[in-house]
Symmetry: C2
Subunit: 309 residues, 2 copies
Amino acid sequence: MKNFADLLIEAIKKKGSPICVGLDPRLDQLPPYIVEKNKKKYKETREAVAESILEFNKGIIDAVHDLVPIIKPQIAFYELFGYEGVRAFEETVKYAKEKGLLVISDAKRNDIGSTSEAYAKSQIGWNSYFSKEKEPVIGADAVTINAYFGKDGVKPFLELCDNDQKGIFVLVRTSNPSAGEVQNLIHENKTIYQMMGYYVDSWGADLTGENGYSSVGAVVGATYPKEAKLLREVMPNSYFLVPGYGAQGGGAEDVKPCFNKDGLGAIINSSRGITFAYQKMDFDDNAYAEASRLAVEDMKKDLAGVGVL
Amino acid sequence: MKNFADLLIEAIKKKGSPICVGLDPRLDQLPPYIVEKNKKKYKETREAVAESILEFNKGIIDAVHDLVPIIKPQIAFYELFGYEGVRAFEETVKYAKEKGLLVISDAKRNDIGSTSEAYAKSQIGWNSYFSKEKEPVIGADAVTINAYFGKDGVKPFLELCDNDQKGIFVLVRTSNPSAGEVQNLIHENKTIYQMMGYYVDSWGADLTGENGYSSVGAVVGATYPKEAKLLREVMPNSYFLVPGYGAQGGGAEDVKPCFNKDGLGAIINSSRGITFAYQKMDFDDNAYAEASRLAVEDMKKDLAGVGVL
């Protein structure tokens, strides 16, 4: 049976790129014409912000959905506007799926026992209540996970990977300056991020699909290419979600070690570099979606230059 | 100047207990009369669930607010019902604060850079947009943190601890069976959870208040008393948030090592054991709040027996 990785690979081949578009809206960078319109309609409320974010996201999705396999909204930027922001997040996921995109909820969730189960259901699963059966909550295809709790915190997510073609991306090596404080500690000649890599590999061992890739992926920052190469060996069957391209400093050469020899095995995320390209390109604000499409096409060429799919 | 720990100690002394009440609502355990009433009003919707949760929480808060210093809603159980659930979470925090309680948002959040800042603002800080200045989002007094990212992910939270009397509880040693897979790995003769303890101690070094406790606390599971004793030495100035009392198996003797000799230094969480006491005590469902008060009084006696405040 096909797993999440198979669906992802199918989409990558169809769209011809391994690009993930990060939707991390910032109110002060949204096109002014969108914000002003919603402010007029909803006054100076969180609802006005939420509606602006949603309208902006829909514009980006419309512009890039035929070029990229997957998007990744970062939930923190939505939670910043309370439950209204969360509503915009849910609507964004729904709209992207209607447009044939896969969606990663970038939420870095995890906990233990029944709490973890609640997160799993909320992010990538279904909830049932009253007479309703299997109603998606956020309904994303995959979610990012922080596995400091060990396997039992991850288990409810693994069950959804197994039964419902869902995926997870476990934080292994993050791209921030102080990532090493915990991740570079050494256990028996292995770093903690390597150890986390071994866990990811083992958790995914029974969850490989038709293409040989498991539905348990890893977050591997593009800012450490040497480490990416090492982690590729530790987790040969895992998809890497690679942040840090563009705005955070990584380029195509830096992300190349995240891929396997088959040209598969990684998706490269860019957020600001795509969504707010209109500012950098000095386009009018009402041409923000066209600018994002051009930025994706540039990124596609850049990645093709190092021979990855 | 007073910090979060000072506010907490003040509240502990005033209420005469170090008890934290966990609000982890489960639809199938809510008093049927509340659920039926809201189902009649809102039909079989998420709104009906959210309103039921909120009504239930208010009943618990009314019943225990003079006996306990602090409550801890676990956000996963609210997110399970989408943005309507998140609204109930926000309203719960607001109501608890109106009743003079401190609130920990149990959200296990963290990320890097501006994403982490968005989480910090959303959970314990303020947002400003349009002409609004400093409007709280969730507005909790403290939040639980997963620090796998190292210090720079924690920094936006530390700034709110420093400037706004807010607090954080960093995951150090969790109470679940597979916690050790990551937390018990050994770096230079020290476990990863000990290393995390050292970080917590250092991050809080400049954030101590009038009572000598810092606003950077730690989550330390009650299921490992020996480890708690060791961690008490590693983090003498940190408040411990201790889950695992009651339902998860820990008793008063087990949590004693989490306290300092001054009888301070820890708050002990109980969730189901208090909120769903009416089921265990075989009370009518409309007496659920009284049952929760009795459960708190029992827990208070139990803890007093081992001489902690």
